[in-house]
Amino acid sequence: MTKRYACRYAALVSMSSSSLSASGLAEVASSEASLRRFLHGLPGIDAVGLQARAAGLGTRSIKTTAKAYAIDLAISMIDLTTLEGADTPGKVRSLCQKAKNPDPGNPDVPHTAAVCVYPDMVPFAKEALGGAPINVAAVATAFPSGRAGLPVKLADTAEAVAAGADEVDMVIDRGAFLSGRYLEIYELIAEIKKACERPDGTAAHLKVIFETGELVTYDNIRRASWLAMLAGADFIKTSTGKVAVNATPANTLVLMEAVRDFRNATGVQVGVKPAGGIRTTKDAMKYLVMVNEILGDDWLSPDWFRFGASSLLNDLLMQRQKLASGRYSGPDYVTVD
């Protein structure tokens, strides 16, 4: 970190005690102008340095027992996902079976953290999971484009929560973000957060998806992260998995730095979920190294870090089989999704 960068950063962190206290939070979002001033006042990102840092963290070699631990941890962090137009109740049921018992031949394999489906599939997922300690996440708010009116988005969310979703993955309106209507997004997230509340006083966890591939710059990703956290997100998530550029180590690194700084500033811990494009054990372990280095042990659990993935699980299982048997495994030895 250069000295200049460190100085700019110090200003932000010191802001925590003064302007970013509980009362300061509300102040930031009191008007479009103050929100913009705050978000554009965040320190800029050195893109080359960021990519070098992400690439550097991806070079660690993790073998034997550490690898075995990382594989099991990664499996337990997966939001096993199916978000296709062709999803059927049957497909969701088999996905839930896989979430409960990823490798039918080996009961030692941990279950995944959650299954992630469209709202209309939530009842089938709840039923199939029974009492298993696996959450059901539903994507809502006109996923994946986010192009619908507020009432539609609220109804979408309410339907998912009423059907029993434990977590709601919402998308932000990237059009509004890119045209600078930050307050609109702030209010959207806050409204959806309210819609996540259940009659009994509990609430579904809210994950906010930025679609980092469409935000163009790292600075925008940092701004979106702070915006969502200010508005009350429980988790921030990189992508829908539906566009060309999904989670990359560099994008996720921006999110991680944002949640770290947010906790330093406000004391509130927010989770991170990279999603889309993470297909191999090697990729997953790079992310785990980043979590460990940037965020530390506090985030190294399924409660605070998740992988949005579908094919990743099979690769983790194949690597797990390799470690157990010594023989390189193949797709014939895992279930076909």
Binding site: Q321, S325, G326, R327, Y328, S329, G330, P331, D332, Y333
Partner: protein, 301 residues
């Protein structure tokens, strides 16, 4: 005024490379080993020393290519193999030189071996759309059903290329490789460590024949690294041990067959070390790496 002189120039040597997934990578290890003239022992070229990791990468490439290749029409596969024969014919002189140096033959004796390799490719190209007729059947069954058996490719086949016998370096390689891919399998080949040059050059022929990347993968290097990796890899469905020469150690037929048994592979046992590869092949190799799919269809409905 100076006398006209012959211009001095440095020879441009060829960098031989592996053929994996349709690309020509150097070995992942960055290592090479010296290949020498069979007769004089002089240095010929540096061949890449393929490692276990290179072999595993090749298996992944072959697995990825399997769906497309096995799903291609037999007609299409035949055309591509025929095209490979055309390309090989076009580079006849180069192969004659490489075969002569690899096997310690004169160019005159190597020429018919290269011609035979071209002919063998054409022969197997012709078999692609006929193998179902000899390996498939309409079975008479005691019930009101049509019962039809058709051959299906086994999957990824690991091949240990011939290391000895008349014509082993090119003709022998083509004779073991062509039947594997003709029926829709994909192949990972451990080339003969002492004579890999014709095989490595064959990759260039295959790459210009519209063969989809990954259908054939050619690895040069120590057989005791490559063959056991293929034998123990769960994602390899069958093993052709034609070129195995070691009597003991990890690259011996016994130890490879033992490793293959752990993952239920189909295994073709080694050829004799003095096998004459110009012998007419017959259909045995074609029919070895096939599975039979049988369909029952009700009649009179």
């Amino acid at each position: 005024m100076s006398e006209p002189t012959t211009a001095l120039r440095l020879d441009v040597y060829k960098t031989y490379k592996l053929f994996v997934g349709g690309k020509f990578p150097r070995s992942e290890s960055g290592r090479v080993y010296e290949v020498t003239d069979r007769k004089s022992g002089e240095w010929l070229a540096n061949a890449p020393q393929g490692t276990r990791k290179d072999t595993r990468d090749a298996v992944s490439a072959a697995r990825k290519a399997f769906g497309g290749w096995s799903g291609a029409t037999a007609y299409n596969r035949g055309q591509i193999l025929y095209r490979a024969a055309e390309m090989l014919q076009g580079r006849r002189e180069q192969y004659i030189a490489e075969v002569a140096l690899s096997e310690g033959l004169t160019a005159k004796k190597a020429a018919p071996l290269v011609d035979a390799a071209v002919d063998r490719l054409v022969w197997y190209a012709g078999w692609t759309d006929k193998v179902a007729q000899i390996a498939g059947n309409a079975n008479p069954v005691a019930g009101p059903y049509f019962n039809l058996s058709t051959p299906e490719p086994t999957g990824v086949v690991g091949v240990v290329a011939p290391q000895s016998g008349h014509g082993f370096s090119l003709l022998g390689l083509v004779s073991v490789l062509a039947p594997v891919v003709a029926t829709g399998n994909t192949a990972v080949v451990a080339l003969a460590p002492g004579a890999p040059l014709p095989g490595l050059s064959l990759g260039e022929v295959l790459a210009t024949s519209d063969l989809p990347g990954g259908v054939v993968n050619l690895i040069s290097g120590r057989t005791e690294d490559i063959a056991p990796t293929l034998a123990s890899h769960a994602d390899v469905n069958a093993l052709d041990l034609s070129g195995v020469v070691a009597d003991e150690g990890p690259a011996s037929a016994k130890s490879l067959e033992t490793a293959a048994a752990d993952t239920l592979k189909r295994v073709l046992r080694p050829e004799s070390a003095s096998y004459d590869w110009t012998t007419a092949p017959g259909t045995d190799r074609l029919l070895t790496f096939l599975e039979t799919k049988t369909v029952w269809h009700p009649m009179g409905m």
